[in-house]
C-alpha cells in the first residue's frame, strides 16, 4: 500500500497542536463551522451514515445508524456521552489522541452534539488519566473563549456545555451502560438491555455513547463529505483506524492505518512496527485488545484459506473463532517465541476476575475459577483434566451474562487452548520445566524433550 492517508493524526506532529490557534492554523474547527453554519442536524447525521464509519470502541457498530436510533421525545433532553474509559489491555489509542490533540475530540463532540440535539455532553475519561483530563479541560476553556462552546455557538442558536468526567478505576465502566451508571455517581454495574441507551440512557433520557476515536472522525467527514470517507478503507471497513501496538515489536506505539492494510505489512514494514525485535520470531498476536481471540503466527498473517489477512473488521474475523479473531479496539499485542502462552492467559484471566463487577454469577465465579486453574497450570501444579475444565468454564460464562465482559473473559482462554493446547499439556507433563525460570514451551524445548 502506498503512503497511507491520515484522517485523524495528520497534524499531530505539529508543535503546539494541543493549542487552539495552532489547531486552527492546520484546518481545525473548519468542519465545525461548515456543519453548524451550512448544514442541518439531519444532514450531519446523513453524512455520517454515508461515511460508513463504524464504532471504534470495539464492537464496530455503524455510527450513523446508532445516531438514527436516538429517540426524540418532545421536551426531554438528549445526551451525548463520549467513551474515553479505555481500559482494555493493549489499547492506548484514545489516551494518545486526547493527549496529543484535545481539540480534535472537542470539535467532534460539538459537531456530534449538534447532530443529535444534545445541549450538555460528557467526555468520560478513566480517572488514572487525570493529566489528560486537565489537558481536555484547558482546551475546553479555550474553545469556550473562542465561542465554540456555550450559548449561541457561532451565532447559530445552538447551545452546548461540555463536561469532562473522571472515572475511578474500573474496566467495566467502558461498557456503555456501566459507564452511564458511573456517570450518575453509582457503582459501574451494567444495566439490562433493553431499554437501550438510545431510549433510556443517562438520567433515563435518550443517550448516544460513542468512542473517542469514533467522534474524532466527524470533523474530517464534515469537511470532506461522507462519500469521500467511504472510499477510504476496504468494503464495509471504511476509513482509517488507530492501532495501538505493544509487545515484542521494534516500534511499539500508535499508528493510523487505512483499513485493509495487510497484517504482514503492518508488522514487518519499517513504516509501521518494523518487525519483531532483533533475533526473535513472531509467535502469536492478540489483534484487537485482550478480549479477542489470540492467533498463532500463521493464522494472523494468513487466513485458514491461505489468503493474506488484512487489518479490517471482515478479514480479521474471517474463519470465525475457529481460525479468526476480531479487530476490536485496535489493541495489537505481538508476542515472540519467548512468551509463555499459559502465563499470558493466566495474566489476562486475573485481569477479568479483578474487573468483573460481580453482578452475574457465571462471570463472578467463572473468572475466579479460570484464574485459579490457570495459576495452577502455570505454576506446575495442574493436571490433564484442568485443560478441559477451563474450556468448560469458559463455555459456561460465554453468553450467560448481562454484559459482554463475560465473553471477553472467556474468549482469550478458549482461544489460547484452541491454538496452543500442546503448550498447556506441556505444563502438565513437565511441571518442573513449567516453573523453571526462563523455560518456555517452543520448538527448542520440544526438541530437548523428544
Amino acid at each position: 500500500m502506498a503512503e497511507s492517508i491520515k484522517i485523524l493524526t495528520e497534524h499531530f506532529h505539529q508543535e503546539g497542536i494541543e493549542k487552539l490557534d495552532v489547531y486552527k492554523k492546520h484546518g481545525g474547527y473548519a468542519g465545525l463551522e461548515k456543519a453548524l453554519k451550512t448544514m442541518s442536524p439531519e444532514q450531519v447525521v446523513e453524512e455520517v451514515k454515508t461515511s460508513g464509519v463504524r464504532g471504534r470502541g470495539g464492537a464496530g457498530f455503524p455510527m450513523g445508524m446508532k445516531w438514527g436510533f436516538l429517540a426524540k421525545p418532545e421536551g426531554v433532553p438528549r445526551y451525548l456521552v463520549c467513551n474515553g474509559d479505555e481500559s482494555e489491555p493493549g489499547t492506548f489509542k484514545d489516551h494518545y489522541l486526547m493527549m496529543k490533540c484535545p481539540h480534535l475530540l472537542i470539535e467532534g463532540m460539538i459537531i456530534s452534539s449538534f447532530a443529535l440535539g444534545a445541549n450538555t455532553s460528557f467526555i468520560y475519561v478513566r480517572g488514572e488519566l487525570m493529566y489528560v483530563i486537565n489537558i481536555l479541560e484547558k482546551a475546553i476553556a479555550e474553545a469556550k473563549a473562542a465561542g465554540y462552546l456555550g450559548k449561541n455557538i457561532l451565532g447559530t442558536g445552538f447551545d452546548l456545555e461540555l463536561v469532562v468526567q473522571p472515572g475511578g478505576g474500573a474496566y467495566i465502566c467502558g461498557e456503555e451502560t456501566a459507564l452511564l451508571e458511573s456517570l450518575e455517581g453509582k457503582r459501574g454495574n451494567p444495566r439490562n438491555k433493553p431499554p437501550f441507551p438510545a431510549v433510556k440512557g443517562l438520567y433515563q433520557c435518550p443517550t448516544v455513547v460513542n468512542n473517542v476515536e469514533s467522534i474524532a472522525t466527524t470533523p474530517w467527514i464534515m469537511l470532506n463529505g461522507g462519500e469521500a470517507y467511504s472510499k477510504i478503507g476496504i468494503g464495509r471497513s471504511t476509513g482509517t483506524k488507530l492501532i495501538s501496538a505493544s509487545g515484542h515489536v521494534k516500534n511499539p506505539g500508535v499508528y493510523e492505518i487505512e483499513l485493509g492494510l495487510p497484517v504482514e505489512e503492518f508488522i514487518y514494514s519499517d513504516q509501521y512496527l518494523g518487525g519483531i525485535r532483533e533475533g526473535h520470531d513472531l509467535k502469536a498476536v492478540v489483534a484487537g485488545g485482550s478480549s479477542v481471540p489470540i492467533l498463532p503466527k500463521h493464522l494472523i498473517l494468513k487466513t485458514a484459506a491461505g489468503e493474506p489477512r488484512l487489518m479490517s473488521y471482515e478479514s480479521l474475523s474471517e474463519g470465525g473463532f475457529a481460525s479468526g479473531t476480531m479487530l476490536g479496539s485496535g489493541g495489537f499485542i505481538a508476542m515472540d517465541e519467548t512468551t509463555c502462552i499459559v502465563r499470558n492467559t493466566w495474566n489476562f484471566a486475573r485481569f477479568y476476575r479483578h474487573e468483573s463487577c460481580g453482578q452475574c454469577s457465571p462471570c463472578r465465579e467463572g473468572t475466579g475459577w479460570m484464574e485459579k486453574v490457570l495459576y495452577r497450570l502455570e505454576h506446575g501444579k495442574g493436571n490433564e483434566r484442568d485443560i478441559d475444565l477451563l474450556v468448560d468454564v469458559a463455555k459456561k460464562i460465554e453468553g450467560n451474562t448481562i454484559c459482554p465482559l463475560g465473553d471477553a473473559a472467556a474468549w482469550p482462554v478458549a482461544s489460547a487452548i484452541r491454538h496452543f493446547r500442546e503448550e498447556f499439556e506441556w505444563h502438565v507433563r513437565h511441571p518442573e520445566l513449567a516453573i523453571a525460570p526462563g523455560a518456555v514451551f517452543n520448538k527448542e524445548t520440544e526438541a530437548v524433550l523428544n
Partner: protein, 165 residues
Amino acid sequence: MHNMTATVAFTPERLEKVKEIIGRYPEGKQKSALLPVLHLAQEQHGWVSSETMDYVAELLNIQPVEVYEVATFYTMFHLEPVGKHVIEYCRTGPCCTMGGEEVYAHLRERLGIETGETTADGKFTIKEVECLAACGWGPCFQIREKYYMHLTNQKVDEIIDELSK
C-alpha cells in the same frame, strides 16, 4: 462528629471547586459529582477515610452508604492511609511482555516492600494495578497524575532517588 468534620473538611478553594462541579449536572443530579469530589478528597488527604465519605455525603446531600458503595467499587481510592508517594504499577499482559515483571521485582526489592505495603519511613507505598492504557510505552507506573513509562531497572532507581530527596 463536629471535630471530625473539621479535619476532613475541604479547603475553601476545593469547596469552591465542589460547587462548580455540582453545577455541571442538571438540577437534582448532584450525585453525578461523586467521583470527581472523591478524587478531590483524595488529592487533599492522600486517602479516603469513612469520615471523609460521610462529609462528602453531606456535601452532596446523599446517603453515606451511597458514598461507601462507590468508594469501595473503584480501585483508585485508597481506603487506608498510604505513603507520601503511591507507586501504582501496571501488572497486565502487555507491560509484562515488555519486561514488566523484572522491573517491578526490582522496584519492590529497591524499596524493600511488597505490593500493598508502605516503607517504614512512610515515603512510599506500592500498589499493583491493571492496564493503565500505556501498553506500548510500558512497563509503566504512575505516581499521582504522572505517568512513568519505558521503565528499566536503572530508570526506577533514578525515580526513587529523585523522590527520596
